[in-house]
Symmetry: C2
Subunit: 446 residues, 2 copies
């Protein structure tokens, strides 16, 4: 791997020193990571000037493209005042403005905003608030969470304890709190033989049963609304969430919406809950909140929850991170919300969403399913009769490597090739993205 | 609370929208948070121009003062290239440089660096790596961690499960994995009647027993070296850590050093482990790593650990955060390390450390203990015979309020008034800080 090339020498340093997330480093022996030097709009550039389209928006975070002049300016403007200050006993304008905007943009029941650093912590905060709420209310037996078997909510051990996916859990099962996994929607392989466009979420049955049979012990239920991301962009209809809301309201169970991956225009609306008239008790936000600039997250909740912690000193909610409500991140988030709400930005996504659908039709001839929710599209590749490829074949990984050769940074989840580009991608670029992906897949499957 | 004053109107918005960490919001009815508008050096300024000394370095994070030209420049220079890019399948220069520097500055056994966002996640990563290591090695019964009853390691539920302090745990006990709490050092109230300056860590006895009796099931032991911060800046001598190392090495137990609060010059050296010739298996870093600018953390470990995850695909370490190794944060961290290592900076702390000691003598006449480890000083206030004040008296909180009147932002832990100023504080400012704190305490206790 070592050559005279400066870039390669840096890759050797990387190999010797850096432990990358979710990476089998042995793969780097043959294909080292791309050394990205700069980024602009929807493109990443390596040191040699090779260009890669950021097809998955750098782990689903980037909305307005890299190196955006207004986001850069918002950051530097705040930097001139202060980078950071602690957030207990102190407040600051960027956080106040951001909390106010998030409350204004979300369903009316959500009134309070708690800031933390990433999606996992946003979920941990919701879980802890829910648990403590029931304790303060004397319902101390409510200490369990229901979650979907396809659900993903982060990888700190609390968040992981409500994650349904075996691959994330299996090495750590012994230290995970025991909660209640429930069979969730699986529209591609619907056991009821129905279609997500026309069904009545008949698959809500196991959740209905789990909640009604355990309502005394269940504090809350957590879901990724509409799209179960890490499970392979499994998409399901809003009627499932309507039924969930009805059940939660009648059984006094908190409804926790993890919109970390789907909020801020990603499905075509600001928030899934708002677009579908849903009223979660907790709304967890992160990723796109800073348009892919800086780590920041928020957990929104109701005054009913907040008021249970208000009063005596011993009732307070004890959870902190040193950089909670980091002013730089809040400033970028405020500018992100401006970009999302001005000039009918969300409206401007409609032709792009249509383009994703249109160019997606070329996958109809492949085995599997092309599915789409707003600006998220995914192609689940299978053998005949929806049969999965053998894991050892690493079909998704081969497609990833092929994508690199053709200027796409894809990162399939197993054999699900997915597309979560920055929202500023153009219709033409959507065409290039899907056409090139098609070529990559063809090259590997043939 | 509402007046015509713009600042007050913003505080009303804060009160209605923001849920602050570790805060009983009812206190804001009488004393709202300070609305900090800008910060410079060791001072915070509110909208009216009132100045507060940042005595606790914004939750122990700030090393080089606010609004530091070189840190600002490092951030904007990186911003021109890219704010962020995902860190799986991709790498970038700021992360490579930072990993390389951290490895160079830490004990030679630590060779690999895993980045995450905050102290809690740095600890969660160490716990998860340790657990999985033993699984990959076939020692699947090693699934427990020993921790100190005075230990604090963060508040996500995994980190909280190895936190010994009841106040952080008690509402969440039912969802915490069961690990092994061990009586740790308590030098102020030493049960052996010894002095920390001259003892031989006789108090290691319970840990020795716990580890030797449970070595088959213990994966690792986690400690805050030298200073147990959240417990009230409880300080103990390095000989305890030497004994811990001997025990861990002979019993095949991982030693996890949580240096989140004590690294980067805080105790006078770069890392506690390096200064005392200790060889932890995992070193958790955060807080000062960006000198108080941006959330970032790192978990360092050995090649022995790393190699257990190298090879087959199924062995990889599955843990990720979207903003892992954020380039902006890494760039600021690289500049922070430059500032720490050039011009004999650590050497320059010596007269400051001496000044803290000298000015601290004025507390000798008070009941309690003034203690110090490097640039950390703390005054534990008690009644006669080391008896604690009643919690309802909120002595520490009264001192906090008095501090605000006199231009100090203190935030006592219970009745422990502590001082963790930015490292760039001058000797004169140390005098002002401790003299003013003395006046505040006098005003409250008389």
């Amino acid at each position: 791997m070592i050559t005279e090339n400066k870039s390669d020498l840096e890759l050797v340093r990387d190999f010797h020193r850096v432990w990358h997330p979710c990476t089998q480093h042995k793969d780097f022996e043959t294909t080292p990571p791309i050394l990205v030097e700069r980024a602009e709009g929807i493109y990443l550039y390596d040191r040699q000037g090779n260009r890669y389209m950021d097809v998955i928006a750098s782990w689903w975070v980037n909305l307005f493209g890299h190196n955006h002049p207004r986001l850069n300016e918002a950051l530097t403007r705040q930097l001139e005042k202060m980078a950071h200050v602690m957030f207990a006993g102190i407040t600051h304008q960027p956080a106040i403005d951001l909390a106010d905007s998030l409350v204004a943009l979300s369903p009316p029941e959500l009134e309070k905003v708690f800031f933390s650093d990433n999606g996992s912590t946003a979920v941990e905060v919701a879980l802890k608030m829910s648990l403590q709420y029931w304790q303060e209310k004397g319902k101390t037996q409510k200490e369990q969470f229901a979650y979907l078997k396809g659900g993903y909510h982060g990888e700190t051990l609390g968040a992981l304890s409500v994650c349904g996916l075996e691959i994330f859990r299996n090495k750590f099962e012994k230290v995970l709190a025991s909660h209640l996994p429930v069979e969730g929607p699986d529209c591609f392989r619907c056991p009821y033989g129905l279609q997500r466009e026309s069904c009545n979420a008949e698959c809500f049955e196991p959740m209905e049963k789990a909640l009604s049979e355990n309502s005394d012990t269940i504090a809350g239920v957590i879901v990724e609304p509409l799209v179960q991301g890490a499970a392979g962009m499994m998409m399901y209809p809003p009627v499932y969430l309507k039924k969930l809301q009805t059940a939660c309201e009648s059984l006094a169970i908190h409804m926790i919406f993890d919109e970390i991956a789907v909020a801020f225009g990603r499905t075509g609306s600001m928030f899934v809950c708002g677009a579908h008239d849903l009223r979660p008790t907790f709304l967890c936000l992160s990723k796109g909140i800073t348009s892919g600039y800086l780590p920041l997250s928020a957990t929104l909740t109701t005054d009913e929850i907040y008021s249970a912690f208000y009063g005596e000193t011993r009732k307070l909610f004890i959870h902190s991170h040193s950089y909670s409500a980091n002013p730089l991140a809040c400033a970028v988030a405020n500018e992100t919300l401006k970009l999302l709400t001005e000039n009918n930005f969300l409206e401007s996504l409609k032709p792009k969403i249509a383009a994703l659908k249109e160019y997606g039709k070329q996958f109809d001839s492949m085995e599997g399913e092309f599915r789409q929710t707003g600006m998220i599209a995914a192609l689940e590749l299978t053998k005949k009769k929806k049969e999965r490829f053998a894991a050892e074949k690493r079909v998704g990984y081969q497609i990833f490597l092929e994508g690199l050769k053709r200027g796409l940074f894809l990162r399939p989840l197993g054999d699900v090739v997915y597309f979560i580009p920055p929202l500023v991608i153009t219709e033409d670029e959507i065409g290039v993205m899907l056409n090139t992906a098609h070529d990559c897949i063809d090259a590997i499957l043939k």
